[in-house]
Symmetry: C2
Subunit: 274 residues, 2 copies
């Protein structure tokens, strides 16, 4: 099954079509598994393989891997980090959560704080939110004009192309949640004492802009999808299927690199440890 | 006299033509002054005006100013910093000298270390060497292919356009030195005890690639000159004329912004200090 192909956003694929893809991948996944437990077991299996390859990734120092996670509140960005990348050696891996910019960040262009955090050779970096917020929340709230937004799409395309041409592999995941499932998850946060701490009234305010956000995502994804920095639309109403899909795509990419531990430096052969 | 217009590199203007411009501006300057002393006095005058406007620049927090200095060894990049920007309040001004990249810089794309250092709002930053080294020394020594070099020109154009579109004013100066004058300056470093410390045998090695450097500069300047990030070719055999020209261009730009100290916040009017 070509999971990546199913989820890959193609130019012109709008989120409504992605909804259809969600049902499709849901069905495919349902055929493969018979429950959350099996999903979890499979994800764990993939996550371990990812962790194994990451050891070689660090040693080979040949590539840089940037993973971008975007999605509405409660769509499971944190859960993905834990579920898919929880096994990885922290040596050589970093997660960066981009919050509302602080003053020194506002004083610079919006890509400044992002560029600082991109991976170096042999490093895997996961962005929990990213420069895409600057064409999403900023657009929805009218902080930027349509013209500026289009300008930023171009900046982002240029920036990601440069990263790609200088050795960075970029995988972008949009965790696609339904409005009904978000309602359910927010209600859980208000009802379950273990989840009280996750509740933020701001999430309700943002929820009132649901349709505007869907449009903003639709435009942003279509404008910034490229072979060098592809978007994957991940149906995310099911947490276990979400993790399984993402782990599968990341592993597929890592395996395609056919990484090997570097050979011994010939000059070292003559050294003897006595 | 439109100094900026004289020095501004126009697409297709090659360095040979810039040589003609050097003679021309030399002649113009000669008509204006009758010696180094007058040049220096005039530069000091301009430098003080620059420093004055910089106070408003910091307070207004409206723009960011990036000045890039490039040129062969001994062309006077350090001297320009001292002569033109020596009067400026260090608060709100930084000079960044880019050396051969260290390991963590090599591990990232070549624009990474540069982007970290760009100015924030109200800041003036002077780059002594820059990302242009990555299409100059790298090209001359064959560390990058022709294809990679062209790719980098595009990256640089994209990067500088993004900076410009997000509020950064960019002025790029190529300090154009003649081969004979460089010989003279290197010999001085070998003969004058006060200048011994400046001598680096590596400069002699680079000098053997003089023609290749001229070609690399010619191509790089033509490929990356734009209205948003213009190149100025500054005849630099005369140190005093070099400083006078650069100070004139910087001041002209700063004056064109018509900056004012920000007005009082109306909410503060009701405060009384008793």
């Amino acid at each position: 099954m070509d999971i990546a192909g199913l989820c890959r956003l193609r130019s012109g694929l709008v989120l409504k079509e992605a909804d259809a893809a969600r049902k499709l991948t849901g069905a495919v996944a349902a055929g493969m598994t018979d429950g959350k437990a099996i999903d979890k077991l499979q994800t764990l299996n993939l996550a371990e393989k990812i962790a194994e390859i990451q050891n070689v990734f660090v040693a080979a120092k040949q590539y840089k891997l940037l993973i971008i996670l975007q999605g509405m509140d409660t769509s499971g960005k944190d859960g993905t980090v834990k579920g898919v990348f929880g096994q990885i050696n922290p040596l050589g891996t970093r997660t960066v959560a981009f919050k509302a910019p602080v003053q020194v960040e506002k004083d610079h262009d919006y890509l400044w704080r992002v560029h600082r955090e991109v991976p170096g050779s042999g490093e895997i970096v996961i962005f929990n939110r990213s420069h895409y917020e600057d064409v999403l929340i900023s657009k929805v709230h009218g902080w930027i004009s349509e013209e500026t937004c289009l300008q930023r799409y171009a900046h982002i395309r240029d920036f990601e192309r440069m990263l790609s041409e200088t050795g960075t592999i970029i995988l972008k995941f949009f965790l696609h949640l339904s409005k009904a499932e978000q309602k359910h998850r927010l209600e859980e946060r208000l009802a379950d004492p273990d989840k009280y701490w996750k509740f933020d009234p701001q999430d309700l305010a943002e929820r009132t802009h649901w349709d505007a956000y869907q449009r903003a995502y639709e435009h942003a994804l279509a404008a910034t999808d490229s072979d060098n920095a592809p978007w994957f639309v991940i149906p995310s109403d099911s947490k276990t299927q979400r993790n399984l899909l993402i782990a599968g795509i990341v592993l597929e990419k890592l395996e395609s690199l056919k990484l090997k531990y570097p050979p011994m430096n010939p000059a070292y052969r003559r050294f003897l440890v006595e």
